[in-house]
Each structure stands twice: as structure tokens, then as C-alpha cells.
């Protein structure tokens, strides 16, 4: 509880577009005006100049221990070649980086990661939005629809991967049998593109409910008066969607774009791990899986540290890009 000021400030930056949407989601539309203590909290004055820092300390400690410290460690060991047990390490300068970037294999994994991230982000956003718009229009039994669409999100990624793997199993997978009906011989684990397809499908499937929740609450946050006004002006539903609904959803969509990109880059690890069953072979993998393979399984600490620093830089650049160039076009009401 001590860190309330900082946590509300943190979540405020990202979660604003969807805040309040949750309560509306399940029928609490008639929520009263903002509680008074919310505004009062902003007026708190600290008597001692140290006190706010004291309140911040627990949060900062967690961020420092679990984020900054490992990051600094990774940057440090990326400049060394080290035996796994830590008996000796040699400073090698940028050799770990040049080794990684010169490797054709690493570059092709990077290319796949880019394609994979783009496709997973696009399809999970698009399908999530489509389902949200459709569910928003349903009047009868809409709670049932919503629950059915949302609960997939409760599945842990490895479990989702396992279920996906069963669907795509070479011998018993129903999707494989279905494709075979059309003469398409899907063999996940054997053919690069088949494995890639399965990975994308399962990763998208896993993420749709998350996007659905946010889009739906975003949609319900659009004032009824605006919708009614739009309905008077324009008869075409599609045009209304593009000109009125979507721009008003933009803050939610922007937030989801960042979250989904990060998801595709990192959180799909569990899905990939289950899909390639411990043996990547000639199957597609993403950069984060390569870090795991070289670092945890290959015990090459220097090389995998260099890779994770590269990954850190990519995410950093990507986030800055998204905030600078895409957020400009987002209008917060």
C-alpha cells in the first residue's frame, strides 16, 4: 500500500484508455461520477522531502533487482567469453556481437522473428477487434458470448502450446486430418512453413481474448450520444466504423499494439518451446528462443548475453518509434 502514488502514476500512463471499461463490461454502465478521494489524493503534501522517496523505495527496489541489475549483468557479460562454471573470463570487446551479427543463421532467425511478430500482432488485433465489434452489437445473452470469448485468456502459454500441438499433431491432430481432406499434408516439426503456420495460429489464438477484452471495453467507452449522432449522419455501418468508432478506439488500439508486439516477441516462448518439442532442428524459432538455446542449453553465456542486449535494443527502438510516430496520430479524448 505504501507505493500507491507511484503505482497509480505508472499504470496511469498506459491503462487510461481502458480504465473504467472493466466495470462497464459486465453491465455496470451506470457507474457514479469519480469517487472524491481520487481528486483529494492529488493534493497530498508531504511534510518531509524524504517521505515520497521512502514510499517509492519498494517499487524501485523491485525494478532495480529484477530489471536493471540483470540488464547491467547481461551488458557486462556480453563483452566477455566465459566458461560456464565461472572459473575464468576473458574480455573480448565486441567479438560476441560481431560473431552473432555475422552469423547467417542469426539473421535468418531475425527475419523470421520480424515476420512472425508482424503477423501475430496484426491477426490477433484484427480478429480481436472484429469479435469485439460483433459482440458489442449483440443484445441478447451477451454476457455468455463475452465469457466464452474471454476465458481462453486464462490458459497458460505452455498449455495453449500443448493444446495447439495436439491440434497439429502429425498422427492424431484434427486440423492435420482436416487439411489432409483437401490434399494438404501438414507436418509440424518437419516442414519449416508448416511449423511456422502452427506457431502463428496458436499464438494468435492465445492472444485474441486479451485484445477482445480491451477492444470491447474501449467500444463501450464510446458515449452513446456520439454513436447516435453518427447514426443520424451516416447510414453505412462500415463507414461509421472507420470514421467514428475506430478513431475513438485509437488510444486502446495503440496500447494494444505495444502490448501485442511485446507478446509476439517474448511471451510466445512457451508456445514455441512446446511446438518444437525441445529440438528446434530446421523449424523456425524467434530471437528470444535462440537466446535460450545458446544460453541455457548451450551454456554460452557471452554469446547469449550479446543476443539479449541486441534484443533489448530492438525493443527499445521499437517502443520509441511507436510512441514518436504512431502515438502522434492517436487522439485521447
Amino acid at each position: 500500500m505504501t507505493n500507491t502514488p507511484s503505482s497509480s502514476a505508472m499504470s496511469g500512463t498506459l491503462a487510461t484508455p481502458a480504465a473504467g471499461g472493466f466495470s462497464r463490461l459486465f453491465g455496470l454502465r451506470k457507474s457514479p461520477t469519480r469517487p472524491p478521494e481520487d481528486t483529494a489524493a492529488k493534493r497530498v503534501q508531504f511534510n518531509s522531502p524524504l517521505l515520497p522517496y521512502l514510499f517509492l523505495a519498494p517499487q524501485m527496489a523491485i525494478i532495480f533487482i529484477f530489471f536493471y541489475w540483470p540488464s547491467v549483468q547481461a551488458i557486462h557479460s556480453s563483452f566477455y567469453l566465459e566458461d560456464p562454471f565461472g572459473f575464468g573470463s576473458t574480455f573480448v570487446g565486441f567479438a560476441n556481437y560481431t560473431d552473432v551479427l555475422k552469423s547467417g543463421e542469426y539473421l535468418s532467425i531475425a527475419r523470421f522473428t520480424a515476420v512472425f511478430t508482424a503477423l501475430v500482432t496484426f491477426f490477433s488485433l484484427a480478429i480481436g477487434l472484429l469479435l469485439a465489434v460483433t459482440a458489442d452489437g449483440v443484445i441478447k445473452g451477451n454476457a455468455t458470448y463475452k465469457t466464452l470469448l474471454i476465458w481462453v485468456y486464462a490458459i497458460a502459454p505452455p498449455v495453449a502450446g500443448l493444446m495447439g500441438m495436439m491440434m497439429f499433431d502429425q498422427h492424431i491432430g484434427p486440423l492435420v486430418k482436416f487439411a489432409a481432406f483437401f490434399g494438404w499434408d501438414i507436418k509440424v516439426g518437419l516442414y519449416y512453413t508448416d511449423t511456422a503456420l502452427a506457431m502463428i495460429v496458436v499464438s494468435v489464438w492465445k492472444q485474441i481474448p486479451y485484445n477482445f477484452i480491451f477492444f470491447l471495453s474501449g467500444l463501450q467507452g464510446i458515449p452513446v450520444s456520439v454513436r447516435e449522432a453518427a447514426l443520424m449522419d451516416c447510414r453505412s455501418g462500415i463507414r461509421r466504423f472507420w470514421t467514428v468508432t475506430l478513431p475513438l478506439l485509437a488510444p486502446t488500439a495503440f496500447f494494444l499494439l505495444i502490448i501485442n508486439t511485446t507478446y509476439a516477441l517474448f511471451d510466445t516462448f512457451g508456445v514455441i518451446d512446446v511446438m518444437v518439442k525441445d529440438k528446434a532442428a530446421n523449424n523456425p524459432i524467434t530471437l528470444v528462443y535462440k537466446v535460450y538455446m545458446d544460453g541455457f542449453r548451450g551454456n554460452d553465456l557471452g554469446g547469449s548475453s550479446a543476443q539479449s542486449v541486441i534484443l533489448m535494443v530492438i525493443v527499445f527502438v521499437l517502443t520509441i518509434f511507436q510512441f514518436r510516430f504512431i502515438e502522434r496520430r492517436v487522439h485521447y479524448s
Partner: protein, 426 residues
């Protein structure tokens, strides 16, 4: 099961010296480890052993390394074959098993161990660094019905297989499947056909400037054959996953399957038809071929940085583990090969192999006459080299690269990794 074993060792640990054992076994094999520990704890009162499963082989090694770096290492760590070079080359991380045992006042007889087991986890003088624990050999399982239907005998050589394959196919079976091309058709190809795998005595002598020799024309020939067998329908390939390939045999769709001697126990439950087993085939055309295969599986390493009392307990446990009765129990419970001659004789005297002849094939193959190159390899970053092989082998069968190109890539990238490892170990 685990809870029971842990509770048991916890109660007996009040006065005793506690030692821990991290391993990478799951399922039935993990349960058997708990049973072995329970037996050890019941056999004496001075030491209390607690086994802890750390997931897979790779995860066990990674956890062991991380723990060692923070000074929290277990007394005993199970390390798999491909990780052997990593731990043996980290001088000071482990106490050689042989030193540990002799220091505890026991005598240690290297000759008590069967031949195929003796070198893989030993240093270049033959001193045991790791204590061989669960050992397996790649052997060929035979679908008896399929061979009878096709009217062929089980092949001893790949030439015999080539002759039998069309008949097996005609009888409606996939003639051949396998489960791990790296272990069965690369590492053991070299040992079974007595061909050099890498310079520096297959890497045993030194890490400096060790180079792979995988562009050997015989190995290229083996994979050219596999590719053409696949194209003709004589060989089925279902990816790098072990079970996807094994399944075809279990379901009575394949005639021959190259698996592990350790697969025997599980196969007895899952195979839908009667089966038997024989040695991994070799090429009759290669001069000097037909030598023994080397040990697969994993070994136990005594980690350094522990008190004398704890080390004494580890030595006691190693001594207990290699006793014929315990070896025989482990061999029969899991299907892994008995590692001492005495245990093998004991199981034989009991008539175990008359009852289950397939259980003997692995040991017999490890007991075949050794050749200069049948003792395996000691290569750094080998888990990563295996990953490169798996990738390129997948590409061969997907028709993306030629066999020769694939092995050139493996040799180039593998040698880069070996050079990198030499720098970390140097």
C-alpha cells in the same frame, strides 16, 4: 511417490549428513531414482540422500551450473553425454569420482566396468571423472510380424537392409524409422564403423584446435543413402522429435526402428505387436566396421566445494550404486544397461535375458570388440553442435540442401563453436 521419498529422507536426516542429488529424469525413470535413494537411506544411517528432479537433462545441467556459480551446488549432479565436455573441462568444478572413492578408503577397479562405459566420462589417462549411471546404446528394434510377412531376416548390415527394404515396403510397412539422427547416425555411426569423428583423438586429448571431421565420405554416403531411401519409401522421417518417429513403430506401421536400449521398458507397454531387437547395423563395405558403440545416457558428478563428511557420503553412495544388486535393480526397472560386469553376470545367472532377450542387446553391443574410434567423443559446446546437425538434417530431408552442403555447413559452424569453446576453457 516423490513426497513419500522426500518425507522418508527428511525424517532420517536429523542426525545424518545430508547430501543432495540433482537429476534430469522424469516419469517412471524419476520414480526409480527415488526408489534408489530410499534404498540407500535404508541401507545405512550416516548419510541421508535427497534426489531432486530439475526437469530435462539440459535443465539439470543449467541449474547445476547456476547453482555452482552462486555456491549453492548440490553434492551430486547428473550430466548427460553431450554435456560431458562442459563439466569435465571445467577444472575444479568436480572431484573426479575415482579420487573421491579412493579417498574414502574404497578400492576402485576400472576393469569392473564394461568396456563401452569406461572411457566416455574418464580423462585422457582413463581416470573416472564422472560415475557412469544410466547408460544406453542405440539398438535396432524389429517388428517380428512385419519381417515374417515380408519373408526377410533382420539385417546386420546396411547392405542387408537395402536388399530387404523393397520386400518390407511391398508387405505394407515403412521399412525403417529412427529417433535421433545425431546420436544414432552420426556419433554412433563413427563408433560402429570405426571412423574418426574429430581431430585431437576425437577431442579427448585437448580442446585446442579440435576440428570436426564430418565431411568424411563414409558419413556423406550414409546420409545420401538415407535420403534416397526416403525418396524411394524405404525410410520414414518425421522430424527431430523422438516420439513422432517412435510412434510409427509402436503402431505397427514400421518394420525396423532405431531406438535406445533404454526404450525397452516403455516399448513393452506401447508396442501393438511382438517385437525383438538386434544391434545397430553397420556398413559391411567399410573396412574394420562392426565395432562397439559407446555409452549414451548420463553420469553422476561429485561437485567440489563440499565438506569431507559430505564427500564421504557421496563416495558411499557411488559405492552403493555400483554394487551388483543395485545395478541389476536399476537395469531391470528402467531398461538402462547394467554398467558393471558383475551386475550383468548376476542378471544373466538369474535367467533374466532368457525371459527378455531384447534387454540384453544394449549390453552386448557395448561389449563388442572396441576399435580405435569406438570410444565416443569429447567436444565442447556439443549440445549446440547437435542443434546445428538437427537443423541441417531437417533441411536434407526437406530437400533444401544437398548432403554434402549440409555437412560442410555443420563442419564450418561446428568448428567455430569448438574454437569458441577452446577460448572459454583456456
Amino acid at each position: 511417490m516423490t513426497g513419500l521419498a522426500l518425507a522418508f529422507s527428511a525424517t532420517s536426516s536429523l542426525a545424518a549428513t545430508n547430501i543432495t542429488w540433482w537429476h534430469g529424469m522424469a516419469g517412471r525413470n524419476g520414480e526409480v531414482i527415488n526408489e534408489v535413494a530410499t534404498k540407500f537411506n535404508a541401507s545405512q544411517t550416516a548419510c541421508a540422500l535427497t534426489p531432486v528432479s530439475k526437469g530435462t537433462y539440459e535443465e539439470a545441467l543449467a541449474s547445476g551450473i547456476a547453482a555452482f556459480r552462486s555456491g549453492e551446488q548440490p553434492n551430486i549432479l547428473q550430466v548427460f553425454d553431450a554435456g560431458a565436455a562442459t563439466i569435465i573441462n571445467a577444472k575444479g568444478a568436480v572431484i573426479p569420482a575415482e579420487d573421491l572413492i579412493t579417498k574414502a578408503g574404497y578400492s576402485f577397479d576400472r576393469n569392473a566396468f564394461i568396456d563401452g562405459v569406461r572411457y566416455f566420462y574418464a580423462d585422457s589417462e582413463g581416470k573416472f571423472v564422472g560415475m557412469p549411471f544410466n547408460s544406453s546404446a542405440p539398438i535396432m528394434y524389429i517388428n517380428d510380424e512385419a519381417l515374417k510377412k515380408a519373408g526377410v531376416e533382420a539385417p546386420k548390415t546396411w547392405e542387408e537392409f537395402e536388399a530387404a527394404a523393397p520386400k518390407l515396403k511391398e508387405a505394407g510397412f515403412i521399412p525403417l524409422v529412427q529417433s535421433q539422427l545425431t546420436w544414432q547416425f552420426t556419433e554412433n555411426f563413427f563408433s560402429r564403423n570405426n571412423i574418426q569423428f574429430a581431430t585431437n583423438n576425437n577431442g579427448y586429448d585437448s580442446v585446442v584446435d579440435t576440428q570436426l571431421k564430418v565431411t568424411d565420405p563414409n558419413l556423406i554416403m550414409m546420409f545420401d543413402k538415407l535420403k534416397s531411401w526416403k525418396d524411394e519409401g524405404y525410410f520414414g522421417f518425421y522430424g527431430a522429435g523422438w516420439n513422432d518417429n517412435q510412434k510409427m513403430f509402436e503402431e505397427n506401421k514400421a518394420a525396423l526402428w532405431i531406438g535406445s536400449s533404454g526404450s525397452f521398458g516403455g516399448l513393452q507397454k506401447t508396442a501393438q505387436m511382438p517385437f525383438s531387437a538386434t544391434f545397430l547395423p553397420y556398413w559391411g563395405s567399410i573396412k574394420g566396421a562392426g565395432t562397439s558403440s559407446f555409452i549414451g545416457g548420463a553420469a553422476l558428478f561429485a561437485m567440489s566445494g563440499k565438506s569431507d563428511e559430505e564427500n564421504k557420503c557421496v563416495a558411499d553412495f557411488f559405492q552403493f550404486l555400483t554394487s551388483p544388486e543395485v545395478q541389476k535393480f536399476y537395469h531391470q526397472a528402467t531398461g538402462y544397461v547394467a554398467i558393471t560386469k558383475a551386475a550383468y553376470e548376476l542378471a544373466k545367472a538369474e535367467g533374466y535375458y532368457k525371459e527378455k532377450p531384447a534387454a540384453e542387446i544394449g549390453i552386448k553391443q557395448l561389449l563388442l570388440p572396441a576399435g580405435e574410434w569406438s570410444k565416443g567423443y569429447r567436444l565442447g559446446f556439443y549440445p549446440q553442435i547437435r542443434e546445428i546437425m538437427e537443423r541441417e538434417y531437417g533441411r536434407i530431408f526437406a530437400g533444401e540442401v544437398s548432403v554434402k552442403e549440409a555437412f560442410e555447413t555443420i563442419e564450418k559452424e561446428g568448428n567455430e563453436l569448438l574454437a569458441r569453446f577452446a577460448k572459454t576453457a583456456g
